[in-house]
Symmetry: C2
Subunit: 219 residues, 2 copies
């Protein structure tokens, strides 16, 4: 389903070169559940952005569902993302002027879903993360873990085939985190492809397969 070949992501700042990804090749098959682990700064978020068509690679090839996204135009990229991928960002990236429900509805707006169906689906997603009583609040009125859960609800609302979550339980206590992991497990059992970045060994052990990154390479 997702294939990376010899992928490099290199940042140049002045004459300094930072190799965020340094020759990564990877295959993720439909329905797989993988965990990506590794030290701070090893390239995990960068890898997730590449998998999620959010960042272009400097070198190498990226195929998603047989589409070569490393050569695709930005419109094509955006459509692929919206139709197939749900992304939970490490720092949530909620829109500060929209309330919880509006934030969660956003992927459905891009998909052209009608107003009442959007509302229905968004309420369902918000309920799944335990925030039904906070739908009218904006992100600055929420705790860190509540923001994280809104980001998760938004990523899942379109029922995407591919779910990419960058440290989805980082701001959650063990019980709330457990509920979220049950959610991912259920989605995986229903055939969704799930890739999680995590520092939590318990979370990593839920996946069928672990990928370890170090200095931009898979070890």
């Amino acid at each position: 389903l997702i294939e990376l070949r010899d992928v490099r992501k290199i940042y140049r700042i002045g004459d300094i070169e930072i190799r965020a990804l340094d020759g990564v090749s990877l295959e993720i098959h439909e329905g797989e559940y993988i965990a990506i682990i590794g030290p701070s700064g090893s390239g995990k978020s960068t890898l997730m952005h590449v998998l999620g068509c959010l960042d272009r690679v400097t070198e190498g090839h990226v195929r998603i569902d047989d589409v070569d996204v490393s050569r695709a135009g930005s419109d094509r990229l955006a459509r692929t993302r919206n139709e197939k991928i749900g992304f939970v960002f490490q720092s949530f990236n909620l829109l500060p002027r929209l309330n919880v429900l509006e934030n969660v509805e956003l992927p459905l707006v891009y998909s052209g879903i009608g107003k009442s169906e959007r509302r229905r689906r968004a309420l369902e997603a918000v309920a799944a993360v335990g925030l039904s009583d906070r739908t009218g609040n904006r992100p600055n009125q929420l705790s860190g873990g509540q923001c994280q859960r809104v980001a998760i609800a938004r990523a899942l609302v379109n029922r995407p085939r591919i779910i990419l979550a960058d440290e989805p339980t980082g701001a959650l206590d063990s019980r709330t985190g457990r509920a979220i992991m049950d959610l991912f497990r259920e989605l995986s059992q229903r055939g969704h492809t799930v890739a999680l970045v995590t520092h939590d060994a318990n979370v990593a052990s839920e996946a069928a397969r672990q990928i370890v990154l170090r200095d931009g390479k898979i070890v």
Copy 2:
């Protein structure tokens, strides 16, 4: 050193009332090392903001070093904060247009420390969190865990008597997190007062005392 009596922090949104803190009384003595734990949304960050003179309480009393900060003017509050307290925010709050070194120097600028002494101390703090090779970068050029470490360096650069850290290892792998916990342990051993919010049981067990929050109350 820090005393809270019957503290309430109540947000009113329309006719809805959210009791972020709902009658909290607490004493933290000089040199103590405490961990604050509890579910997402239970009031931990709110409690930290009150302890750190960053938020005013709705009801109750807050004393820091015998100063009644619940009645103090905002200048007095700011001075107390700058002189006595180092704060690591749950979402880091780095200034996006400043580089790592400039971000870390900020508390020293407020203290009126001279340029070369600021630089020296900031470099020391950055080295302590393992980021000496990234001093020229801005926050958007750093990974989540790198940003967290910059926030920690900034909080410690003034060698404050009171260190308040809201989930300081949330974005860190276990090895980098271990190095940060060693840093806090060393500061505690040297007499600094340390209060950490954490979801990590390992981190909580490092403290001499654990405080558990639930629905804005200490249980």
